[in-house]
Symmetry: D2
């Protein structure tokens, strides 16, 4: 057992921290100004300063860290974890490094399951950062954490598939640069529970695909990263070759996509928590009430200590899950991935709440990133299934493990 | 001891519940449409359906319930409490009954401390619902829960007072119909701690008063009730007769204003919680996951039970505080008012969080009132001073009380 | 609505508080010494100072407060509630006033369902405080919160009933003065779910009844109030006339017994909480660490404030449940009785934990009543069924209520 | 970074798990019987089965694991951590391996600071398991977490030191085999804050040393590991050579002792938590209520999942602290040691509470180890200073760290 970073990680951490200080943080206010000046408020990836950041990151070799293997930077999950945490400190950083969701998951899917043609047509431009993508799974009318509930149909008709259904919370889809959507639907509702679903590529401009509206999260429309669209698919036709893998592979692909996706979210969330602690401490030092700085108030010290203790535990759990994914595979790391999915939003939300409280009403406003971070983290308690579903699954696994130990 | 409502309260509850069902709930979607169509997004009180609601409420005698004594409906706090709770169920209801903050507190101040001229000029049109008002106390650069920190100056210059300072979170001020501002500042920084402050009336169009921007709460700008402005006062001159009470009375007036203000907020918040429970139960009944409705899942039942148990306790505490205000006066009810100020947002926030979770991602969106309610309730943990200040004060009082009992 | 006590309650509160100060508190150390000197450590009701307290209480008319109607003091539940709270402050007080469990519940059962003979033989001496009793319901091998699980058999055999079964956690049964046991068992396992059970009177010395051992709670054997016995019934024969009510009435009698029993426990628990706050404040004033008294530490003030806010809410909920029992009956007050059953141990346990923490290690020891109180309150989370069962029931009722409101 | 155990650790884990299964668990009921049969209830180390366990462990080379360096087994903290966790699963295991507090800490002190004579006279027999020891630091009249409060005096008088003072919570001291006490007191109250204290060796039979009574924790007197004594030192005289180190070294020695002591407690506590999860799962599988096993109830699954998620995080934090102690030293690992001191009891107490609840009333009784474990873990929230002191210190360090990062 060893808790130090390896040499490659240390080197990349140094480079990334330099990039954050030199490029990313200074770009934050510029981004907001330029974003506000856009004609199309959703076209966030056209903001000039972001293009500069991306060019800069690419030239420094800080690119596609998220993707293991030949297509990406070749890092292990454990090597990527502390880098992803750093990118979580600014909402501009993941996009600058071409490491932002949902593109990351979509690139993983195409790298692992895409045909050579699909890879050439869609993966390559995504890896180059030339286009963006969306992932359309969640549906408004059903509890989508239960994949058997998916109602969208993907039906074969000659050389084409015809797609009908309604999706929502499709992140990034309002951005006109999101040129390709990966859509989950059922090709065979009568098949075995986990073989009913398939995934298919739908280009943005396909007739029958309508972008109905943007969903808000606590008042935020999240146009600064492409929003969350409600989509309607009415007799949307795409070539049969757009299917990813074979019919019935949808559930398995979704599962494969979720592991890395979850761990990336968790890593970045720890960066959010660290920035919250920084802000909390700075504010506590600078604000005086009833004759002494907030930093000298016992209750606020209690929050700071609790925050530190909770972050340290959480980070180690995430690192260990990454290590397991690298050493035993995503499938055998299932329980640990569920564990970080459960632990992360609860921990980070708690810390953000306290950081907000230390800031007074300003903490809820646009003057600090805390409230927006809270909103983002709050969504993680649903994303890829609500906490309660994951807890239920984790408990079932624990009960089975204990039963086996008892020989019962 | 008796936990039943008196006859007057029962009668008014019946009338108000009828008004809610017949008029308020049906008006909610209309209001949102008409609000979106306004030229000035902040002029929420000009929305036609709101004017109709107000006319209807007035004609039914459901008007100015909040104000005891000759100027208002003559209800006690205890009679008003269950009515205020009902109005908390829809954000349109308080305004419909001319019972919405900050006008209520401002009317109380003018009714209790205003000169006959001030009452004629400002209180009467407020009571009639012809104009709106704001209350400018909080400042961006200091911990405003400590009134000695107030930095705004109100200086006598001949027949006028000259006001200089910066305020923020001034609710309602972006509404152009908010014609009059009550401003808190220091007339004598060298006086005794609680005699430094004064309050003064500043009409909206006074030169030197600038409305700089709207503060956001999470992503909401709250234009549906006038927003929260940041204001600048630069050599703002008003007649000396605009001072409310005498120089140095500001702190005492603020204290007098806070008691009823807090209890009204708490009452309405319980209505928010009740609506959240309704939505949570309806959703739990209608949503199926993994083969059974959410209402049959143990964890969700636990939340529903906890919500009910917490609301019942909280409501009784608020009623008792109201009863004490009526029977022993606001001053002697200080501890109980602090107690409801502490207990209410914690309880209601918890319930809203669970109601959101039962709704899945939709619960955070514009499709349900839950996330917006969460944002509003979250601000109560700072409004009129953060929880921590009130807990500290309540503990000090408890320690003193116990010391007296011990004869120490 | 009115939160004041009526005149009768105020008068009795004054008398009771006087009795506590003059008699009960001074007797506490004496009781512990005399108890330690007993030959039979379980015979707590033979301790001389307790006999004196009981004589004194009787002579002052502070007797059988718990029992409404002709047999008792004629108080309503709402009148008894604040008195019971006061008795909760010292473990000697309930016994001094002949108001201690399980005798109270047993007297209620005999008063309501006992035959004239049963009342003469057992109720009268209990009311006079001449004997003690136990209530044998819980069984070791089944989840006894589900009454259909009860395995003890009560079988008719000519003029007798024959009882076979195992019981545990039978409070008071180790006290040799507990002369009579009310035993719950099944007379007809094939009957309708809630008509299978009956209750029967079993004198202590009946052959076949064995007292196996005392159960401990944490490390306490609770010999200071008769312990908690495990009992074995092997072919225990009693006259058929010992049956309470008719065959199949057991479940209904148990339900009737639980309402008042729960509210008495909750009332007394609030007294426990109040004493904990007193001790916490006194300790916080007297203990100095790192240069200032604990009472000046922010975290400890937070605990004190939270304790006060929670107690006030809880007490009102208990009072309201009592008022409902008086005005609409125990059955219609079911939800409120469940609510206090859920809320009370959680609240009081939290306060005791904090009071202990303020006392340092001493708080866990025999030098303060806090740890023993914690142990006692902790058992309330199981007594008469675990919290989880009650929450489930309360949620089911809430869901039904909301469904009715929706017209669903 | 690597989360696997090294080969030595894996080997020892295998051997230790075998020893637990073959020897320790079967000995548990025997120990309790033999302990109950002792003439001196405190002489727990004379119980025959324990002697057998110790002989067996010694012969298997499972001995003195806790002690790094030449005197002990030569393990690093990181190697010892998972072994200590295993020993935490049974209260007999630490003593069997000669790894139980307070002897471990005392041996560390003697190994690091003892003179050759002191090592020969006391360390050697302790290492051999021939005698036992106690550590006398905490005092009844002061907040002992603040070492400057220590009131016991150690005064030089010729060739002797004279000790006067009162101590309590001196674990193990009631065991007559505890032949030597390390006593903390002040040699120079006028010296600099952390140079006032010294430590001195006091043999059990020294005149003037009185063992007054045993302290209870909840109702437990903990005679199964030597109890917790209150001691009086009245003119206790020992040779000057009994001083450990020099005058004024007491605080530094205490600090050095605390690091390993805390980490050992935390490691073992994780074993306690794991056993609680085992029992909770087994019970949930076997107990049926309302028609299905508890393991199928959502709330109980939630507890099981939370328990697992919390344990995993906590264990990693403890491992990391151990790794830091090994690689950068106890001093630089200070924050992490404080972090595990804060996190461990909170986490394990929560898990025990839920495990108890799943067991019903039996969970609080002598029939399961859960309530006794709860009592033991609860004391850790005070041991070596209350949580609040450690949180305060950790927050101060975090604030300083953040200030340095900001360049403030």
């Amino acid at each position: 057992m060893d808790f130090g970073f390896d040499a490659r990680t240390e080197e990349l951490r140094g480079q990334l921290l330099g990039f954050m200080d030199e490029c990313v943080y200074p770009a934050e206010p510029v981004f907001h100004e330029q974003l506000a000046a856009l004609d199309n408020r959703w076209a966030w990836t056209t903001v000039p300063v972001l293009a500069e950041l991306r060019a800069q990151a690419k030239s420094r070799g800080l690119w596609n860290f998220f993707l293991p293997g030949e297509h990406g930077a070749g890092l292990t999950n454990l090597q990527y974890a502390p880098l992803a945490e750093i990118t979580g400190r600014s909402h501009l950083a993941p996009a600058s490094l071409n490491c932002s969701a949902p593109d990351t998951g979509n690139m993983e899917v195409l790298a692992a399951f895409g045909s050579p043609d699909q890879q050439k047509r869609w993966l390559q431009p995504l890896l180059n950062g030339e286009i963006r993508s969306s992932f359309a799974m969640t549906e408004p009318d059903v509890a989508s954490s239960d994949a058997t509930n998916i109602a969208t149909r993907i039906e074969r008709d000659g050389d084409e598939y015809v797609i009908n259904g309604r999706k929502w919370w499709i992140t990034g889809a309002l951005n006109p640069q999101a040129e390709i959507f990966i859509v989950m639907g059922k090709t065979d509702p009568s098949a075995e529970r986990h073989r009913q679903q398939s995934m298919i590529l739908v280009p943005r401009d396909t007739p029958g695909l309508s972008i109905l509206r943007g969903m808000e999260v606590f008042g935020y429309d999240d146009h600064n990263h492409g929003g969350h669209a409600e989509l309607d698919f009415s007799d949307v036709r795409v070539p049969a070759a757009n299917l990813i893998g074979g019919e019935g592979d949808g559930f398995a692909i979704a599962q494969a996509r979720l592991g890395p996706g979850r761990i990336h979210h968790c890593m970045r969330s720890i960066g959010v928590a660290e920035r919250a602690v920084e802000l909390m401490c700075a504010r506590a030092d600078s604000r005086v009430a009833f004759g002494k700085p907030l930093a000298d108030q016992g209750v606020i010290r209690d929050w700071i200590a609790e925050s530190r203790v909770r972050i340290e535990q959480l980070r180690l759990l995430v690192f260990k899950a990454a290590w397991l994914m690298d050493t035993v595979g995503n499938k055998k790391a299932h329980t640990e991935i569920q564990a970080i999915k459960i632990a992360t939003p609860a921990t980070v939300e708690w810390i953000l709440d306290k950081a907000i409280q230390v800031h007074g009403a300003g903490g809820l406003s646009q003057d600090f990133p805390l409230a927006a971070s809270f909103a983002g983290i709050r969504t993680l308690r649903f994303a890829d299934g609500p906490d309660e579903v994951h807890k239920n699954g984790l408990a079932r696994a624990e009960l089975a493990r204990q039963r086996a130990k008892r020989g019962a």
